[in-house]
């Protein structure tokens, strides 16, 4: 279809049919505000004659109280289809046209109160002139109590839904408990005022999802492991002045540290042993800084000092050093 700008009369109407009937040129226009058709007669042709295909949907709107209609072109008439008769089931939240003649699309977003989802539909239309519609984002689409939780559904402005969910809502029959009710067990924490020799604090993520910590004693401050990254040959042009036959490419350097804890009760040992299986372990410093470390596999030793007190040792790998290597 040839593009003619008169098809769309700004956002107020769309001309959907232009024909010659009874000796007159007739222009059929659908006005969005009144949702009605007006026919204009003329004795002179005003542009190319055309008609858009039967069944083309040119408007979708919600009629109060809760019914959605589509406007469909059939010949020179515009008929309405009652899309949804169920009271309160669906709500039109947004309409938008896009594209250009003749490849336009009418986009429709409808909120389904039963499924609590938005149903999105595209209708091809050769004349994409709909002025657009979007309900305000403070319009309540649905408010319901799910147990004691009150869920309120709103349009997010983009054809989607935002949910305001308020658990324990008095609007849903929840009775606010009295003040000064204990909600956790009493967790006893022992306070130590003396530090071990060469203290190293570790904090680790335990299997429950919380963080535990312990102040260990460093049994061996550092052991350094280095590893060469290989050698490359050096061309020799003058044996008298040459200093080397090969160069070392680089070296890597890792440090590890042996930690221990003494005089542990069985329960303390059980708590500490979680560090062995945790993949998230940090060394914490008194100034608030920290670094990630890992426990070396196979380094754990458990020593029974007596029937009630035990000692443990294990190694941690510290972060690799940066060296002058590629």
């Amino acid at each position: 279809m040839e593009e003619i700008e008169d098809y769309c009369g700004s956002p107020t109407y769309v001309e959907y049919n232009r024909s010659f009937e009874g000796g007159l040129y007739k222009s059929y226009k659908y006005f969005f505000a009144s949702r009605s058709v007006s026919v204009f007669d003329s004795g002179f042709p005003g542009g190319v004659l055309f008609t858009i295909p039967d069944g083309t949907i040119i408007d979708v709107y919600q009629n109060s109280p809760q019914q959605i209609y589509r406007r469909v072109v059939v010949g020179s008439a515009v008929l309405h289809q009652n899309v949804f008769n169920a009271f309160g089931t669906k709500r039109l939240i947004k309409v938008q046209s896009s594209g250009t003649t003749p490849d336009g699309i009418l986009k429709v977003w409808i909120f389904n109160r039963q499924t609590k989802l938005v149903e999105y539909t595209e209708y091809p239309t050769p004349i994409p002139c709909h002025p657009g519609y979007s309900i305000t984002s403070d319009t309540v689409l649905l408010a319901s109590c799910e147990g004691y939780t009150r869920n309120t559904y709103y349009h997010d402005g983009n054809g989607g839904i935002t949910i305001q969910s308020v658990p324990n809502s008095t609007l849903c029959g929840y009775v606010v408990p009295a003040e000064n009710i204990d909600i956790t067990v009493i967790q006893r924490v022992r306070i130590e005022h003396c530090e071990p020799i060469n203290p190293i604090m570790l904090a680790w993520k335990n299997s429950l999802g919380g963080w535990d910590s312990w102040l260990f004693s460093a049994k061996q401050i550092f052991s350094i492991d280095t590893e060469t990254k290989g050698f490359v040959g050096v061309p020799i042009w003058d044996i008298e002045s040459a200093e080397e036959t090969q160069k070392e490419v680089g070296k890597s350097k890792q440090a590890s540290c042996k930690l221990g804890a003494d005089n542990l009760t069985v329960q303390e040992k059980i708590g500490i042993e979680e560090v062995l299986s945790s993949n998230i372990v940090y060394q914490l410093f008194k100034d608030g800084s920290k670094r990630r470390v890992s426990v070396n596999k196979g380094s754990y030793i458990s020593i029974d000092n007596s029937s009630t007190l035990q000692s443990i040792e294990f190694e941690i790998q510290l972060p690799d050093y940066y060296t002058l290597s590629n």
């Binding site: 969005f32 505000a33 499924t115 609590k116 989802l117 002025p131 519609y133 979007s134 309900i135 305000t136 984002s137 799910e146 147990g147 004691y148 939780t149 009150r150 869920n151 349009h155 997010d156 402005g157 989607g160 949910i163 305001q164 969910s165 658990p167 029959g173 408990p177 003040e179 000064n180 009710i181 204990d182 909600i183 956790t184 067990v185 009493i186 967790q187 006893r188 924490v189 022992r190 306070i191 130590e192 530090e195 604090m201 993520k205 335990n206 299997s207 429950l208 999802g209 919380g210 963080w211 535990d212 910590s213 102040l215 329960q267 303390e268 708590g271 979680e274 998230i280 914490l284 008194k286």
Partner: protein
């Protein structure tokens, strides 16, 4: 036809109101059980989608095929846990509790039957039964299985949730940072929450106590709770617990709530 027979959450009949424990350990199976009353052919399937609660972001999209009538279990843990992560970053500036941002994923599912001719059944949205998956793992034989019921605070006579520690009695060294973790669940956000500390001497006799309010904006996550530091030499134990305060009304809104600037156009 398909219906949900069970979810990872558990219902606990209680008075004056029933409790739904929604927190589950994401490193255990996170299981939904569906019951199929009809399996018309080999191509019949159930499309399950996982969305983040609140933002409605699609997290996973899958099809499962029942081979016969009856129950089918679907484990979503590997989808859910990929959105969780943990780093040690507590910030106690001006507060005594802080949240681990990606420690809990709140999600819900939708499901829809898919037939061989391309048609689909009704879309079912289970958003009101959303689940909170925490970065946790429970062990065989644990009470309530993979549900974190014992660690989720509720206001219920006679019930006291546990802290997320593997120590029976954690130890704090004076002068060193120390925290204890807990689930700051939505079930207690309608009120102020206070940390109560009782200070005991070496004989475990009471010396003094303190009461400090928590920061409510850190709710719906696993929290670090700071324990008082640099206490006097006479204090050898601190008994810590959480207690409700005054009601604060229904004022909290999920992130992504109503956007400004949208008006009706005609």
């Amino acid at each position: 036809m398909v219906t949900i027979v069970s979810r990872p959450s558990i219902n606990i009949p209680s008075s004056p109101y029933n409790i739904v424990s929604r927190y589950v350990a994401a490193y255990n199976p996170v299981v939904y059980t569906f019951n199929f009353t009809d399996v018309p052919d080999a191509a019949y399937s159930l499309r399950i989608r996982v969305f983040e609660f609140g933002s409605n972001t699609l997290l996973a999209d899958m099809n499962v095929r029942p081979i016969r009538v009856g129950n089918l279990r679907v484990d979503l843990s590997r989808y859910v846990r990929s959105y969780l992560e943990s780093t040690y970053t507590p910030d106690f500036a001006g507060r005594i509790n802080d949240s681990e941002e990606k420690s809990v994923l709140r999600f819900y599912i939708t499901y829809q039957e898919q037939f061989i001719d391309g048609s689909t059944g009704a879309l079912v949205n289970d958003v009101t039964n959303y689940i909170n998956a925490s970065l946790s793992a429970k062990q065989l034989g644990d009470h309530y299985g993979q549900n974190m019921r014992d660690y989720t605070p509720f206001v219920k006579d006679g019930f006291f949730s546990k802290f997320l520690t593997k120590f029976e009695t954690p130890v704090k060294w004076n002068g060193w940072a120390f925290t204890i973790s807990f689930i700051y669940g939505e079930e207690i956000i309608g009120q102020e929450i206070k940390r109560i500390e009782n200070y005991l001497n070496i004989n475990k006799s009471f010396l003094s106590d303190s009461e400090t309010q928590l920061d409510r904006s850190k709710a719906n996550k696993i929290n670090w709770l700071k324990i008082s530091d640099n206490v006097s030499e006479s204090i050898k134990f601190i008994d810590v617990k959480l207690r409700t305060g005054v009601a604060v009304g229904e004022s909290y809104v999920y992130q992504g709530y109503v956007q400004d600037g949208y008006v009706e156009v005609r």
